[in-house]
């Protein structure tokens, strides 16, 4: 009787559908528990703050910039959308400065921090602190070596390209070698449109 019951194609399909549904439920449960774990890890561990590579996937500093009023702009990459709101504290020989940080409303993995300019060649300890309870989220030791004007050089075919190594800012961490600032792809732009 059992054989007859399970011999029909419909029954086999039903069983397969059931197995798939169970697999989906297990996957969903796993996803939810991974999310919980991730937020707990963020809650407990102090992350190391460093400069981003070409394809950032961890918390890191994308670039430093400046404005006409000698304020420092710091661009950060935050991989986890649920990363708590934070502010920066930069400790230098001359003292400590607090930098307000704001997540981008549309792209919450991009954070912009803004505050007092840092002197060149000054070593600084950069800390990320949670806005809610001032908990230390991440820290790193960095030195701002130079802030150069960004220049574009004409390639031999007249196509503007970013000169290799011409970065707006360079910085070094005490433990790491300098990494080039954010690079844009050096590909010729489409002509005609929609390549």
């Amino acid at each position: 009787m059992i054989q007859q019951r399970f011999a029909s194609r419909k029954s086999i399909l039903l069983v397969l559908a059931g197995i798939l549904l169970l697999a989906l439920l297990a996957l969903t449960w796993r996803i939810i528990s991974l999310q919980k774990e991730a937020s707990e890890i963020v809650a407990e561990k102090v992350l190391k703050l460093r400069y981003c590579g070409a394809n950032p996937d961890e918390l890191c500093i994308l670039s430093f910039g400046r404005d006409a009023e000698e304020n420092l702009a710091v661009s950060l990459f935050v991989p986890d959308r649920k990363f708590p709101d934070f502010y920066l504290k930069i400790k230098r020989i001359t003292g400590e400065s607090v930098y307000e940080c704001e997540k981008n409303k549309e792209v919450s993995t991009s954070v912009f921090c803004y505050g007092e300019m840092v002197n060149l060649q000054e070593k600084m300890e950069v800390s990320l602190l949670a806005e809610k309870d001032d908990r230390l989220l991440a820290a790193g030791n960095l030195t701002l070596n130079a802030i150069l004007l960004s220049t574009q050089s004409q390639g031999s075919d007249g196509t503007p390209t970013l000169a290799a190594g011409a970065t707006a800012e360079t910085l070094t961490s005490t433990a790491e070698t300098p990494i080039a600032a954010t690079l844009t792809p050096q590909l010729s732009y489409p002509n005609p449109s929609y390549p």
Partner: protein, 585 residues
């Protein structure tokens, strides 16, 4: 980079958005399949109904979005509550009375899940929706959501002719409380997941072969650079028009099949489908028109004596080849061919080989496809003057380039079915040969995809960097709301009739207006800032600031830096510089 890990990571990260979008699609699917199931009952398999649903979902969703918008505009928040209750009631009724429980057959589930993971890996490397079109789409969706949030004012008039996509996105964003960027990015990938399955119905009906239908779907999914490349172009309305087009074609096929008694539900659905498709992308009307002419030609050809049928087929093929020659010669149009030959050469060769079997065993549908292709290419050369938009063509190159994947995939499916019939005529081992042919075809397409198909964003079209986002945040924080910003642009070059006035943004500056609501003016990126005439022109435009992004066609920062009496740097990051315009008397 691991496409599987990246895809899963995106799904985890954006779980609520992904769920909301697929819930919307399933809602639409259940509603559109219910009347078809009620009428046709067991005439079609579950897979065929699922396929119809995966094309037709957009009809109830678009209709619902327009209804919700109209209701919210006229009656306020109460309309949202009524709409939600209505949507749930209608959904349950469709499930119960239409018996449309199965939105996807169990056999498709593994392929569906794989497709979801692969397509969503695209978002792991995406900051904002790509290219310059996306900024405009964002702006329109934001404008519409303003009416839901009671911040919109005046009549909701939009100077844009493809508004269906924007209504859908605004409605879903508002109902599920999602960000506009998330909606655009996730919805686009979700449509790419679902779209290939919508081809199953027509091929299955024509060939009576599940394998051939599945092969057409596989080709549509991973065989070509289209339609996936559309999200690199930010052409979301065009992408969203495809389900509607496929649904109309499927209903058209059903009408053709039911010659003796054509149920009125089919006419209703066809009319509804055409209306929604045109609302989403107005050029769908041209596609339907050309398809209707091609269909008429197919019927006319069928009535001719066999020798003339072959002659007509040959003439249409010849005309198509001539048109391809003209496309190849045109600088504006040749990227259509380059795109397929550069990215999909092996698939083109495979489709061409299979077309021979398609011609042999499914002559009428093959003729219809070639006739349609000829008309589509012809549409690239027919000028149309539209007030306010200048001289355009009936169809533009990106649109036709998008559509080409459809007949090519159908040729593949018909061709495989034709190859089966050919092999079954063999004396020795026909069954084994058929299975071997299927294995080789499927394997070849999958292998080609593993080597050539790029699931990540293309470098061609990422014009926004994270420095752009930071710069925009700085601008929003520090610059007054009434300032004007000059951004770089380049000639828009998609038809032979484009005027030099047609310009397109080339860097992150194109998002200034959309994201931070500052007015922008554009100037060609190659503007010479050493020249006083350029400064005079900038002053005449009334630009207070100049935005120089990090793209090769952005403004030349070296020139701007060296003219600091006219252009004072006020903000700099590695990939962005902003200048204040001085010296305008």
């Amino acid at each position: 980079m691991n496409v599987w890990a990246d895809g899963l990571s995106v799904i985890v990260d954006r779980a609520w958005v992904v769920f909301s979008i697929f819930a919307t699609i399933i809602w639409g699917q259940v509603l559109i399949v219910a009347p078809l199931r009620k009428h046709f009952r067991s005439r079609f398999t579950n897979a065929e109904y699922a396929s119809l649903g995966m094309a037709g979902w957009i009809l109830p969703v678009a209709f619902g979005a327009v209804l919700l918008f109209a209701g919210s505009y006229l009656f306020g928040d109460i309309a949202e509550l009524i709409f939600t209750l209505l949507a749930v009631t209608v959904f349950i009724s469709a499930l119960v009375y239409g018996k449309s429980y199965q939105v996807i057959t169990p056999a498709w589930m593994p392929i569906f899940l794989i497709s979801v993971i692969l397509q969503f890996s695209f978002l792991d490397k995406t900051i904002l929706p790509l290219y310059f079109d996306s900024a405009e789409h964002y702006r329109i969706i934001k404008f519409l959501t303003g009416y839901y949030e009671l911040t919109g004012s005046g009549q909701p008039l939009i100077n844009y002719y493809h508004v269906g996509f924007h209504f859908i996105s605004a409605a879903v964003a508002h109902l599920f409380q999602l960000g506009i960027v998330d909606i655009m990015l996730v919805f686009g990938q979700a449509v790419l997941v679902v779209l290939p399955f919508s081809l199953f119905f027509i091929i299955k009906q024509e060939t009576q072969s599940n394998m051939a239908a599945a092969f057409a779907c596989l080709l549509a999914g991973i065989g070509w650079h289209m339609p996936a490349h559309l999200v690199n172009w930010g052409k979301y309305p065009a992408l969203f028009s495809l389900p509607g087009i496929l649904f109309v074609f499927s209903i058209g096929y059903l009408l053709f099949q039911n010659k003796k008694s054509r149920p009125s539900i089919l006419y209703l659905l066809m009319g509804f489908g055409i209306l929604i498709s045109v609302l989403i992308h107005s050029r769908s009307l041209v596609v339907f028109f050309f398809s209707a002419i091609s269909l008429y030609l197919t019927f006319w050809r069928k009535r001719l004596p066999p020798i003339y049928q072959h002659l007509v087929f040959g003439i249409v093929l010849f005309i198509f080849m001539i048109e391809i020659g003209y496309v190849h010669k045109s600088a504006a149009l040749s990227p259509l061919l380059d795109g397929y030959l550069r990215n999909d050469l092996w698939m083109i060769i495979l489709a061409a080989a299979l077309t021979l079997f398609s011609i042999r065993f499914f002559t009428d549908l093959t003729f219809l496809l070639f006739a349609s292709l000829s008309f589509l290419v012809l549409g690239l050369f027919v000028p149309v003057h539209l007030p306010g938009f200048g001289t355009l063509t009936l169809l533009d190159r990106p649109y036709v380039q998008m559509l080409f994947y459809l007949p090519l995939s159908i040729f593949g499916g018909l061709g495989l079915a034709g190859l089966y019939r050919f092999l079954q005529g063999f004396y020795y081992y026909p069954k084994q040969l058929t299975r071997l042919a299927a294995f080789l075809m499927f394997g070849f397409v999958i292998l080609n995809a593993m080597v050539n198909h790029d699931f990540y964003p293309s470098d061609c079209c990422q014009i926004v960097s994270r420095d752009d986002l930071t710069a925009l945040q700085w601008m929003d924080k520090t610059l007054p709301s009434d300032v004007s910003v000059l951004i770089a642009s380049a000639d828009l070059f998609v038809t032979s009739f484009e005027s030099p006035a047609a310009q397109a943004g080339v860097d992150g500056g194109v998002w200034i207006s959309a994201l931070i609501s500052r007015k922008t003016f554009s100037l060609p990126g190659e503007a010479d800032f050493y020249q006083s005439q350029t400064h005079a022109e900038v002053c005449k435009l009334g630009a207070d600031y100049i935005y120089a992004g990090g793209m090769p066609q952005s403004f030349n920062v070296q020139q701007l830096d060296e003219q600091d009496n006219w252009y004072l740097p006020v903000f700099s990051l590695p990939a962005v510089k902003i200048y204040r315009v001085n010296g305008c008397e």
